[in-house]
Amino acid sequence: MIKSKKSKVGDLVVAFFCFLLILVCLLPMLNVLARSLSASEALIKNKVWLWPVGLNLDAYKLVLNDTKYTWSLVWTAILTVIGTCLSLFMTTICAYPLTYDKLKGRRIINTIIIFTMYFSAGTIPMYLLLKELDFLNRPVVLVVPYCLSVFNMIIMRSFFYGIPESLRESAELDGAGPVRVLVSIYLPMSTPVIATLALFYAVGRWNGFSDSLMFMKKREYYVIQHLLYLIINSMSNIEVTTQEGFSPPGLSETLKSATVMFATVPILFVYPWLQRYFITGATLGAIKE
């Protein structure tokens, strides 16, 4: 089909708007990257735009030498790995039985689970429960209480529904039980959805901080975003410094940028590789009950 001149111009206008979008998304990151690599004098004089001025790695060295910060990175990475594995396990064993049409009591179990998506007791009841369970200020509070997301479970279940039932039936005729079918047929076919949900759960843990803020008082167990919040605010908000007693290790603006980079880069390296998976995953979530 030959395109008219008018529609070619239109295509270019569309392409231009997309270019603007790319700029708006990337510029903030580039600016912070440039700042983190610049000399602090250049920053004070407002010379840094999108390219480092007076290139140096001092800020990164200082951040790496700050044991509190590096420990928090390692700690959050550990929590992320453990949490993601636990969440994937729980999500799978919850979603899989619910794909059996013949399962007696499926409707009531479904209702029990879906109800929690629309109504929750709230923050304080959760806090009191965790207090009762003696979870407060223990590492377990950062892993277990939110380990199973109904939304993610629905995504996985929708994916399982897409696996042809004939596969399951023929395996069952050969004498395989439900668990056997799960392990040898469903899981090997579910790489896309497992990758998607692993990404969702991992990003959730890496980026989350409200549970650490509310349920964790021990500083050595703070997750990275919580610590980062204190660092960023202790320099612009004196209130927070005195309240939390966190002393910034002689930080300048460059340091602030470097800490932001450290907490961002892990995710930025992971998500583009999983793009083709999570697009399917994010769409599956929209299929309704």
Partner: protein, 316 residues
């Protein structure tokens, strides 16, 4: 009828045993998730009582005495609390602005991306546009503070350079609201296109061909084919957003707020955090949380009923 049922029952019993023998492992698998939901979602519901009771640290929830005014003491206190009224107003205001500006944004972007004829460029644009979704609000707040800093930030430097006044993006209530809404769109617009783009792919391409035969241009096709084609998706997502009009995120306002903008940034979730977790006024904070949860459910039902009335599918 009765005799038939009776005659059938021994067979049924056997059938049931066979069923259990075959599928008991499924129940075993469900045991752990169900325990999780009961412990972490249903047991906390007993503490909702605290909203109607005088909290006591030594007594169990069931033994605590009822609060004054037929147990409604803390709801009355909440609604006569200036801070709460302020939080209620801010929650509604910020969510409403998010709805007006944030809801159409991904639809427009999806239409735009759908018009982009260069596949590789489209893919790059999408990858970049998804990126902000993967940043935490603490990081976005950190980026925003640096970019929008009054004297040293990139944006204000640029404004001064072209001869304009600097703008207090994060330090002045009105501008803070603008920045809050803008950053919300920035963070979510790319990600939210995924669902619309998927819906667009499902539209029958013959419709476009037929429209072209009739001489329809880009905008007519968009208006008469693409938009109607994704209407169901739009309505479903609209219902969900309407249901959240009184819901409040915690991370976003908490990370972006500072003491200069408390007056507009204080939302219900932050009120609950301040009064409940920090000041330990459990009854008051639980009452506020309960009020919020209940209103959210009511709104969701209403939005759903409304959608069904207009002949849409609804959420359930």
């Amino acid at each position: 009828m009765k005799t038939v049922a009776l005659a059938g029952s021994p067979g049924r019993g056997k059938k049931f045993i066979a069923y259990i023998k075959r599928y008991w492992t499924l129940y075993l698998l469900l045991l752990l998730p169900l325990t999780y939901f009961i412990i972490f979602k249903y047991i906390p519901m007993q503490y909702i009582q605290i909203a109607f009771k005088k909290y006591s640290i030594v007594k169990s929830v069931w033994e605590m005495p009822w609060a004054a005014n037929n147990g409604l003491e803390y709801f009355i206190k909440a609604f006569s609390n200036k801070d709460f009224i302020n939080a209620l107003r801010n929650t509604i205001m910020l969510n409403f602005l998010d709805l007006i500006f944030g809801f159409p944004a991904p639809i427009i972007l999806a239409l735009l991306l759908n018009e982009l004829p260069f596949p590789r460029y489209k893919r790059v644009t999408q990858t970049v546009a998804y990126m902000p979704h993967f940043l935490s609000w603490v990081i976005i707040a950190g980026l925003a503070r640096q970019l929008f800093a009054p004297t040293s930030g990139l944006v204000n430097n640029f404004l001064t350079k072209i001869g304009l006044d600097t703008i207090p993006f994060l330090n002045e209530p009105k501008w803070w609201v603008v920045t809050y809404v803008f950053l919300g769109i920035w963070q979510s617009v790319g990600w939210n296109t995924i669902i619309y783009l998927a819906a667009i792919t499902a539209i029958n391409p013959e419709l476009y061909e037929a429209a072209e035969m009739d001489g329809a241009g880009r905008f007519r096709k968009m208006w008469h084919i693409t938009l109607p084609g994704i209407r169901t998706t739009i309505v479903t997502l609209l219902i969900l957003s309407l249901g959240r009009i009184l819901g409040s995120e915690f991370d976003r306002p908490f990370a972006l707020m500072n003491h200069m903008v408390n007056d507009v940034a204080n939302v219900i979730s932050i009120f609950v955090y301040k009064y409940g977790i920090q000041a330990l006024q459990f009854s008051l904070a639980t009452a506020v949380g309960l009020f919020q949860s209940v209103v959210c459910v009511i709104f969701l039902f209403m939005a759903n009923a409304l959608a069904k009335r207009f002949g849409e599918r609804g959420v359930w």
